[in-house]
């Protein structure tokens, strides 16, 4: 395993299609031996960035490095370290799943012995053992997706790039993919996973990069991003009956950003880093109010994502 700090590093990476800038001076850093999520809405530039990384597209400006090696032009030596699963992968329908993995293994320079060992293992891992001898033309979308994952792992790569791996999979398949991703990372590979499914990213990734319109909006560990961007927490309190005094006292609290009342329900927003529920509770009871229930809702990754994306689109969040 390489000891280089970054598996992927892009410097001012830019890709334009005519007047449209799909990737705009993107500076991306993916630490080695991590599971790095690449988040962004549709059309954010995720797939374009990935296609540049695997050599399908040429950047107009900027450079990118894979394990410290600058990749320019047709570089099979760099692709040797990468296992890539495209978004909705398509394979030659005339081949069987087994033949495809065997041929791809051959392209990675694997010997016959290695391929014989690796191919059935991978087919079993993705649940295609029974269908390995069937032509790919007879596979469902989900099966092709699984085969896509298997072919990305044929050479036991140091860097695995998965572009929307859960697309087209049923809920069980999605869970299996998540487990598989964790398993790959456990074996020591770096996993770079592009997705628009926030919960998926949240469950498997230790680091994330959020992009929109080809620009990095945020990057770092989940904790770093949460502490940096999740400024608001919401406390929802249900009281036994509405009281002006309670609301007045609550409004006087220094850490409150916003307070709204809807019948017996009081919603408080705060930027305070610490848990302020005890103070809220004390204020209500001291003012003669009776608390029925109280819950704290911190900003999720989804909230942060939506906030960042809408801000980048120039739309003010309400």
């Amino acid at each position: 395993m390489l000891s280089l700090e970054f598996a992927i590093e892009t410097i001012d990476l830019t890709k334009r299609y005519g007047s449209l800038t799909a990737v705009d001076k993107l500076n991306l850093r993916v630490k080695a031996n991590t599971i790095h999520g690449f988040l962004g809405p549709n059309g954010a530039g995720k797939t374009t960035t990935i296609k540049i990384l695997v050599g399908l597209l040429k950047p107009n400006e900027g450079i990118f490095k894979i394990f410290g090696q600058e990749a320019k032009g047709d570089r099979p030596d760099i692709r040797l370290k990468i296992g890539y699963m495209p978004e909705l992968p398509k394979f030659s329908k005339h081949l069987t799943g087994y033949e495809l993995l065997d041929i791809y293994g051959e392209m990675y320079g694997l010997s016959k012995i290695a391929r014989k060992e690796q191919t059935p293992k991978l087919l079993e891992m993705v649940g295609l053992k029974e269908r390995g001898r069937d032509r790919i033309g007879k596979y469902s979308k989900g099966m092709q997706q699984r085969l896509g994952i298997a072919q990305a792992l044929i050479n036991e790569p140091e860097l695995v790039i998965l572009d929307e791996p859960s697309l087209g999979l049923d809920p069980v398949g999605m869970v299996e993919v998540r487990e598989l991703v964790k398993e790959i990372a456990k074996e020591g590979a770096t996993v770079f996973i592009s997705s628009h499914l926030l919960h998926e990213v949240q469950q498997v990734c230790s680091e994330i990069t959020i992009i929109n319109r080809g620009i990095t909006l945020a990057s770092g560990s989940l904790e770093e991003i949460s502490s940096k961007f999740a400024k608001l927490a919401t406390i929802e309190v249900e009281v036994s009956e509405y009281s002006d005094t309670v609301v007045k006292k609550l409004k006087a609290l220094p850490f409150l950003t916003q307070i709204s009342v809807n019948g017996k329900k009081i919603t408080i927003q705060t930027e305070a880093k610490e848990d302020i529920r005890p103070q809220v509770s004390k204020t209500i009871t001291d003012s003669g109010g009776i608390i029925i229930s109280m819950s704290l809702k911190e900003q999720s990754l989804e909230d942060i994502f939506i906030k960042l994306v809408t801000e980048s689109e120039g739309v003010k969040k309400k």
Binding site: D74, I103, M107
Partner: protein
């Protein structure tokens, strides 16, 4: 984990090239249109062999013995056959990968685009070679069975080489158009239009003008000439196989070109005469030049291609 060195093949270049060839071969030979083409070619060859048998049986006459049947028939598929084989083999080879999206996993494997291109080309060559060898053997055995013992069977490899060169002009042209347009349909239609246009033009130009020599620098049937006392002969790239055999059998043969006179007394007007050796050398040179040109265009287009979709 397969990280140990011994699990990697020592000759990585060979193993990777073989992988591309295998990928292309499996893809090609399982295509319905390829199987259909093979069936049609063998069906036509069988009909050609069986018809004289049926006719002589109907006429109650013995089948005429022809010791030159195999050598003069060759593959028996002619210019259009070469073109059709080329279309079937090459129309999907690169453009089909772009159309179906299979180019994405292929180009992201650790094989250079140059290797992919030449691997595919080599696979096409192997398919063509195998098909033509089988077809040639089938026709030769059939000729022996139907027309009796055959002369000059040792010259059949020349027929094979010539036919492959003739077919490869169209293969490389279709590959080039397909790689540039990324559309199999455009590749097939453009090549068909070229083949058709050249076919029609060569007939008209040969018979009516004095500029027939131009046709000798284009792919296809070329100018129409007369071979001493042996009858008419096509001088273009489609006729390399038959001209190769003719030159071996008649090394000093000459080709004479005429044009038709459309005024009384409506006779042929002699244009010029040249040795068959010249005709053959030129047609091979022209064929090789076109093959190299189209191959270069195709390779360059693949090298530069970006996969946007």
């Amino acid at each position: 984990m397969i990280k140990e060195k011994e699990k990697r093949s020592d000759s990585k270049f060979t193993i990777r090239f073989v992988a591309i060839v295998r990928y292309e071969l499996l893809w090609n030979i399982r295509k319905k249109k390829f199987l259909g083409m093979i069936i049609v070619a063998f069906a036509l060859a069988t009909i050609a062999l069986v018809v004289p048998v049926i006719l002589s049986s109907v006429r109650n006459e013995p089948i005429p013995q022809n010791p030159d049947q195999a050598i003069t028939t060759g593959l028996g598929i002619g210019g259009f056959g070469f073109f059709l084989f080329a279309v079937v083999i090459a129309m999907n080879s690169i453009s089909g990968e772009f159309e179906s999206g299979t180019i994405v996993p292929l180009l992201t494997k650790p094989v250079s685009r140059t290797m992919i291109f030449f691997g595919k080309l080599f696979a096409s060559f192997l398919i063509l070679l195998t098909t033509y060898v089988i077809l040639l053997c089938y026709l030769s055995i059939g000729s022996i069975v139907v027309y009796g013992p055959q002369n000059n069977l040792h010259l059949l490899p020349l027929s094979l080489i010539g036919s492959i060169i003739s077919t490869f002009i169209w293969v490389s042209m279709i590959l080039a158009i397909g790689t540039l347009s990324k559309s199999s349909m455009i590749a097939a239609l453009a090549a068909f239009g070229t083949w058709m246009g050249l076919g029609i033009a060569s007939g008209i130009v040969s018979l009516t003008t004095e500029q027939a020599w131009v046709l000798n620098f284009l792919p296809g049937s070329g100018a129409l000439g007369s071979l001493d006392s042996f009858g008419s002969l096509s001088t273009g790239t489609d006729s390399i196989a038959s001209n190769l055999i003719t030159i071996v059998l008649n090394p000093s043969a000459n080709v004479t070109y005429y044009r038709m006179s459309f005024r009384p007394p409506y006779t042929r007007i002699l244009l010029y005469t040249e040795p068959l050796l010249n005709v053959l050398a030129r047609s091979i040179g022209v064929a090789v030049a076109y093959i190299l040109l189209f191959m270069f265009v195709s390779w360059f287009a693949l090298k530069r291609a970006e996969v946007v979709e």
